[in-house]
Symmetry: C2
Subunit: 468 residues, 2 copies
C-alpha cells in the first residue's frame, strides 16, 4: 500500500498527501491560514538565506515596516485600492475600543514604504534607494490551498526608488535575473520562463509586471515570483521626490518585487514523485541522513563519527540513530521528506569498512562506498543529484510545451502542458476568450527569450497554460 | 553644538536623539507602531543570527504559526485572557464582510501552538517537543516608546512540552542561561541579573516567570528577556497529552520563552554615550569602517584593498569612499552609529604605509598602524573594545546597586540605581507599597545568585528599581 495517492491518479490529492506525510504544513485554525511545520520551515529558512545573500549583493538593505497600515493610505492610488480592497483584513477594535480610523493588515507595503521613502529621499545623491523586508502579509483568500494560496503568507518585498525610468527598469530586471532566476535555476533546480505579464495580469498599480513561470508535474504553471515597474504611480501620490544635480525637484521612479512561501508549493509540485518530495541538494537543509541500522557493536558510534566528518566537510547532515524503529520505516520517512542522500550503516557495512549510499533523487541503485572516501562520495553524489533533478525538470517541461498557432490549439495543448504561440494570434480578445475556459497567458517573451518592455512590441511569444 | 542632547541633561531625549540621528527607527503611521530603518534592522539581524544558533544548539526547531488566532482560543485559559484582553487588536472585517467570529492578531502564541502541540504529541517518544518561531506580535500600547514598548514588535517565541515538571523547568533554565544570558554577556556585553519574577509580575498563565534584568545608564532597569514555566495550565485546556511508557495517558508540562526588538533599546541605553551609540564588536554588523579620506593618488584604491583584506579575514567591514563629504562629517556619522573601529586612510597615512585607527568604544587616542599589520591590529582592537564595553557596563552597574535593609532605603536607592535587599524585608505588601511610587521588584535570586524555584524559598534577595 503506497503512502501517497499516485500523482497520475489525483495530483491535488497527491500534493495534500505529501504535505501531511512529509510533515510540511497544515491548515491553521482561521480559514486560509497555515501552520508551517519544522521540516517545511527548514526549506523556507534555506530559501531565505540564499535569496537574502543575492538581494544584499544587489545593494538592497533590509528594514522593517509596520504590519498595520491606515486604511486611508490605500485609497490614494486608484488601481491599487481597487485591486486589493476585496482581499483586505481590517482591524476595527483595539485596546478594548472601536478605532476611529480602521487599520488594514498589510497585503503588501507599497503605500507605507512610499510614505517613508518620501521622507528619507532628499537629493539625487540618496538614489537609488534600495529597501527590502522579510515579513508576513495577509490577503483574504476564497479558495485557499496550502503554500499556493493562503490568507497569510511569508515573503520578501523589495521596494526601490530611482532617478529615471531606465534605471528603475534595469534594477527590476537585475533582481529578476540575478536574484530570482539565478536562485530558482541554481538552487531550486527549476527551469523558469521569464517574461512580461499582460495588462490584465499586472500588479494593481504597476506599469509593468515581470514574472518567472515554472511548470509543475501535472503540466500546469505556477508563478514563482514577480518584479514590478511602478512607474511614477506611487511616487506621485506619496510625494517620493528628489532634487536633481541642477537643484530641480523631480519625481522618482519606483519598483517592487517579491517571492513568497508559495515557492515551497512549487518546489513540491515540480520535483516530487510518488514516493514523496525530492529536495534539490543545493537547497536541502538536510542534504544527507546517516542511518545507524542497528544498535550493535560500533554501529551507532561509527555513524556518529561519519556524521561529524560530513558536517565538518560542510555537508548539512542529520544522524538517525533511532535503532528501535525499523530500517524500512525510517527509509520511507526520509524518502517522503526527499532527503537527497541516505547513508545506511549496519554491522555488515561496518565489517567491510563500508557504508551503503542511497540516492533519493535519481533513484539509482544502492551502492557500497568505502568509509574512507565517504565524504568525497557524498559531495560528488550531491552535485550529481542536483544535476539529475535539473535535467529531469527541464526535459519534462520542454516536452510539454507545444508550439501552436491558433487559440483552439492552445486550449487543447493546455490540457496537458503549455502552449507557445505568437502573441499576435492571441491579443487582448483572445486572452479573454481563453480565460473564460480557465486558461491564461502566463507571460510574453521576445523570440530570443528576453523580456520585452511592452506588450506592444512586435513578434512577441505568448506562453499559455492552466495555472495555480 | 553637540548633535545629541547630553545624557545627563535629559536621558529620554538623548535616547530619542540617538534613534533619529543614528537612523535606527522612527514612528509608524499607526500609533505605537515602528519603522525599523536599515541600520537598526542590521542590529536585529545579528541578534537573530546569534540567538538562532544558540536556540538550535538547544534542540529547538523553527516553525511558523498563524498571525490570526480565533478569539475563542483566548478564552480557554482564564488568567491568560484576563492578562491579554486589554491589549488585543481584533479583525472584525475581512474580504469585504463582517466576520462571524472575530479574529485576534496574536499578542503571543501559547494558545495556537498549544492546539497543534496537542495534535502532534502522541507518545512519550515525541517528548520533549521543542518549537520556536521568529515572528511579529501585536499588543496595543498606551504609552509607546520606540523599541521599548511598541504596538507591534518582532521577537522569537519558544514553546516546548515535556514529560515532567522537572524537565520543563530544566529546559526553561537552560534557555535562560545557555541562550539568553550567554548571548547578552558574550555578544551584547551586557551584565544581567537572572532571577525569578514575583507573583505580581508573572506572565499571564504561568506558574513561574524567570527574567534577565539589565541596568541602563540612567540607573533604571530593563527586562531583556523572559522564560516561563507554564505548568500544566495550557496543557490542560488544550489537551497536550501523551501516552507514557506504561501506556497511561498523561498531561504534559509546557514552557515558553522570548526576547524581542526591545533588546535594541536596551543595547542603546546600556552602552550609548553623548556621542551616540556604541555597538559591541561581537554584535556589530559593521565592525570597522574604512574611510578613504580624500580622492587623491591611490587613496581610494588602497582603501578598497584594505577593506577587502579585512573582509577576507572575517571582519564585517564597510568602505566609506564618499570623498566629496568632509572627513569630519563622516567621522561624526560613524560615531553616532557606534561603529567600533574607524580606519582612516589619507595621502599622509599612505605615504608612511600606515592607516589611522580610531576606537569608538574606548575613545582611545588615534593610533597609526602599519598597513601590513592592519588585519591583526583590527582583530586585536575588536576584542579589546568588546572587553572595555563589558568592563564599563559591569563597573557602572555594580557601583549603582546599593545594599539596603528597609523599603525607605530601597525607594531612595532606586532614585539613582538599584536596591538589593532581603525579600523578607519586602514581601507582597512591601512590593505593593513600592509599586505605588513606580518602583518594582525586578526579580528574586538566591544569595549565591542562582535562580529560586519559588518566591517562598528562605533567604531570597530582591532587586528593586525603577524600570522601562
Amino acid at each position: 500500500m503506497p503512502a501517497l495517492t499516485p500523482q497520475a491518479d489525483d495530483f491535488p490529492r497527491w500534493y495534500q498527501d505529501v504535505l501531511n506525510k512529509a510533515e510540511l504544513a497544515e491548515n491553521g485554525p482561521v480559514r486560509g491560514t497555515m501552520v508551517i511545520r519544522p521540516y517545511g520551515y527548514g526549506l523556507w529558512e534555506r530559501m531565505q538565506a540564499e535569496l537574502d545573500a543575492r538581494i544584499k549583493a544587489c545593494g538592497a538593505e533590509n528594514a522593517y515596516f509596520p504590519l498595520f497600515i491606515p486604511e486611508s493610505y490605500f485609497q490614494r492610488e486608484a488601481e491599487h485600492v481597487e485591486g486589493f480592497s476585496p482581499e483586505l483584513a481590517v482591524v476595527t477594535v483595539a485596546g478594548g475600543r472601536e478605532l476611529e480610523e480602521p487599520i488594514v493588515v498589510r497585503p503588501t507595503s507599497e503605500t507605507v514604504m512610499g510614505e517613508y521613502m518620501a521622507k528619507w529621499l532628499q537629493s539625487y545623491r540618496d538614489l537609488p534607494l534600495l529597501l527590502n523586508q522579510w515579513a508576513n502579509v495577509v490577503r483574504w483568500e476564497l479558495r485557499p490551498r496550502l503554500f499556493l494560496r493562503t490568507t497569510e503568507f511569508l515573503w520578501q518585498e523589495g521596494h526601490t526608488a530611482h532617478a529615471t525610468r531606465e534605471e528603475a527598469r534595469a534594477y527590476a530586471e537585475r533582481i529578476l535575473h540575478e536574484v530570482y532566476e539565478d536562485f530558482m535555476v541554481r538552487v531550486l533546480a527549476m527551469p523558469v520562463i521569464v517574461g512580461l505579464k499582460t495588462a490584465s495580469e499586472r500588479f494593481a498599480g504597476a506599469d509593468n509586471s515581470l514574472s518567472l513561470e515554472a511548470m509543475m508535474r501535472d503540466g500546469k504553471a505556477l508563478q514563482m515570483g514577480t518584479t514590478h515597474e511602478l512607474g511614477q504611480n506611487f511616487a506621485r501620490v506619496f510625494g517620493i521626490e528628489f532634487l536633481d544635480a541642477e537643484g530641480e525637484r523631480r519625481t522618482a521612479w519606483t519598483t517592487s518585487w517579491g517571492v513568497t512561501t508559495r515557492m515551497i508549493g512549487g518546489l513540491i509540485m515540480a520535483h516530487g514523485d510518488d514516493d514523496g518530495l525530492r529536495v534539490p541538494p543545493h537547497l536541502a537543509h538536510v542534504q544527507a541522513v546517516v542511518v545507524a541500522v542497528r544498535d550493535e557493536g560500533d554501529v551507532v558510534a561509527c555513524s556518529r563519527t561519519l556524521a561529524d566528518e560530513l558536517r565538518a566537510a560542510g555537508v548539512r547532515v542529520h544522524l538517525d540513530d533511532r535503532a528501535d524503529v525499523s530500517l524500512g520505516r525510517r527509509a520511507t520517512e526520509w524518502e517522503l521528506k526527499g532527503i537527497p542522500l541516505r547513508l545506511e550503516l549496519g554491522p555488515r557495512d561496518l565489517a567491510g569498512d563500508e557504508v551503503t549510499l542511497v540516492r533519493r533523487v535519481s533513484g539509482a541503485p544502492k551502492t557500497p562506498v568505502a568509509l574512507a572516501r565517504a565524504v568525497a562520495a557524498v559531495r560528488d553524489a550531491l552535485e550529481a543529484e542536483q544535476q539529475v533533478l535539473w535535467d529531469q525538470a527541464l526535459a519534462q517541461r520542454d516536452s510539454r510545451i507545444e508550439d501552436v498557432t491558433t487559440l483552439d490549439e492552445a486550449r487543447a495543448a493546455a490540457e496537458n502542458g503549455w502552449a507557445r504561440l505568437p502573441w499576435d494570434a492571441v491579443g487582448t480578445d483572445g486572452e479573454a476568450a481563453l480565460a473564460s475556459g480557465g486558461v491564461t497567458v502566463r507571460c510574453l517573451t521576445r523570440e530570443d527569450g528576453s523580456v520585452p518592455v511592452s506588450e506592444n512590441e512586435a513578434d512577441l511569444v505568448a506562453y499559455v497554460a492552466r495555472a495555480y
